[in-house]
Symmetry: none
Subunit: 225 residues, 2 copies
DNA sequence: AAAAAAATACCCCCGAGGGAGTATTTTACT
DNA sequence: AGTAAAATACTCCCTCGGGGGTATTTTTTT
């Protein structure tokens, strides 16, 4: 039995485009179309058959997509909503998911990706997401302080993020990274330049690099300097 | 020209499985395999050709996948890492992304999905993500207060505080800062290593420094890299 | 007290990096 | 068309950095 689909988009041409993309995939059959959130909800209340999956645009006059999802999922929890919109709406993703969306795709995505997503939400419990959307979501996430979503075992002694670099090696590394030569570093740390050499060799080994430049890059990335 | 791929997984059987999945896709050619993070980093430092995309397992003895990604992206920013692992590792997703991963797939994903992801990270700037992973990520996200991730980023029009560095010199500088030697830079930019030398000398003069390391620090400070 | 890890120090060898030039061709801007 | 600036290329010389070691002392952990 095929998956019953609904398409909600205010512009007829958009619905048409989607229909064409889905044309030929036997596992999907179009149950209904709506030109607005309100219209979709009305149709829902009148029909016997409810769709399995709904492709939902966000930018629509009247009741917007997210609100529609929120309302519909309250009464029809079996329906899986996939947001299908343009990239400009992408900051709505968290709102949409929170409202009950089960996927977030871009209109520019390929047909096979959309079909995959429809099948996936229907049969599994994933959240199909366009790569560009995921990128956006992750960017937004990275702005959030890490501790906010820190979970379990984070109470461990500040996880060896330093790749096994010892304290003395770190002393050397800092000087190294600021461009000092062995002689200078040795004088500053009151040790022989030969010893500095040895520390540096060990650092290189631990970081899997072979030049000062690479150490500096890693040091910046890890915010050691 | 096809996409150069690397596979990092401690178990030979897993690498074999992946290879079989990718077999027959002409747009992807396998450049190298590694059985551990350490091994991968070593190979990177020795090979002339750098992979475009790396499929990285997370659970490995020795240097783990995330640490490997962190180290590698610091010095090879052009490489796109896609985590390819089992669902049990899925709570590592934020760590992985933060470390520099560009995708997060499951080993059980279909071949075509993996290929799509590889092509996507190589040609676009998305983060391909398995639906189940996205679900997990969203679940973790929903625990975060909404206001936290309101608005952020947007391409800051940061332009030109460069100290009279010309465009060509900037080309050289970027390679220089990532630890390449003169010969390599020359090949990459289609000029003689002697010319590179000259550019570097000019850069040093303009920035008032006398070593690569110092250039890297300035480049980071000025956010050139 | 014994074992492990870190810190100290040294060796040889060679190539890459850098100082200080000179010089020609291309591109950019009047 | 004429000039300035940038990009290209090369030379000599010498230091410093990095690969690959070995070895002793101190500190930490068990």
């Amino acid at each position: 039995m095929s998956i019953l689909l609904a398409i909600v988009d205010d512009k007829k041409i958009n619905r048409q485009t989607v229909k064409e993309k889905l044309y030929g995939f036997a596992e999907i059959s179009l149950l209904l179309e709506a030109e607005s959130g309100d219209n979709f909800l009305e149709q829902l209340n009148k029909t016997k058959q409810v769709p399995d999956v709904v492709l939902m645009d966000l930018e629509m006059p009247g009741c917007n997509g997210i609100e529609t999802i929120r309302l519909a999922t309250a009464n029809y929890p079996s329906i899986k909503f996939i947001v299908l919109t343009v990239f400009e709406d992408s900051d709505k993703i968290f709102e949409a998911i929170k409202a009950g969306a089960h996927g977030y795709l871009l209109k520019e995505d390929k047909a096979v990706e959309i079909v995959d997503a429809i099948v996936n939400v229907h049969e599994h419990n994933g959240i199909p997401m366009s790569p560009l959307i995921a990128r956006k979501a992750m960017n937004m996430l990275m702005a959030v302080p890490m501790h906010a979503y820190a979970n379990e075992e984070e109470d461990l002694p500040i996880k060896e993020d330093n790749a096994g670099i010892s304290t003395r090696e770190m002393d050397v590394l800092k000087e190294l990274a600021s461009g000092k030569n062995y002689k200078f570093i040795g004088e500053k740390l009151f040790i022989s330049p030969k010893t500095v050499r040895k520390h540096v060799a060990n650092i290189y080994e631990k970081l899997h690099v072979n030049s000062r430049t690479q150490v500096v890059n890693i040091a910046h990335k890890k915010r050691w300097i």
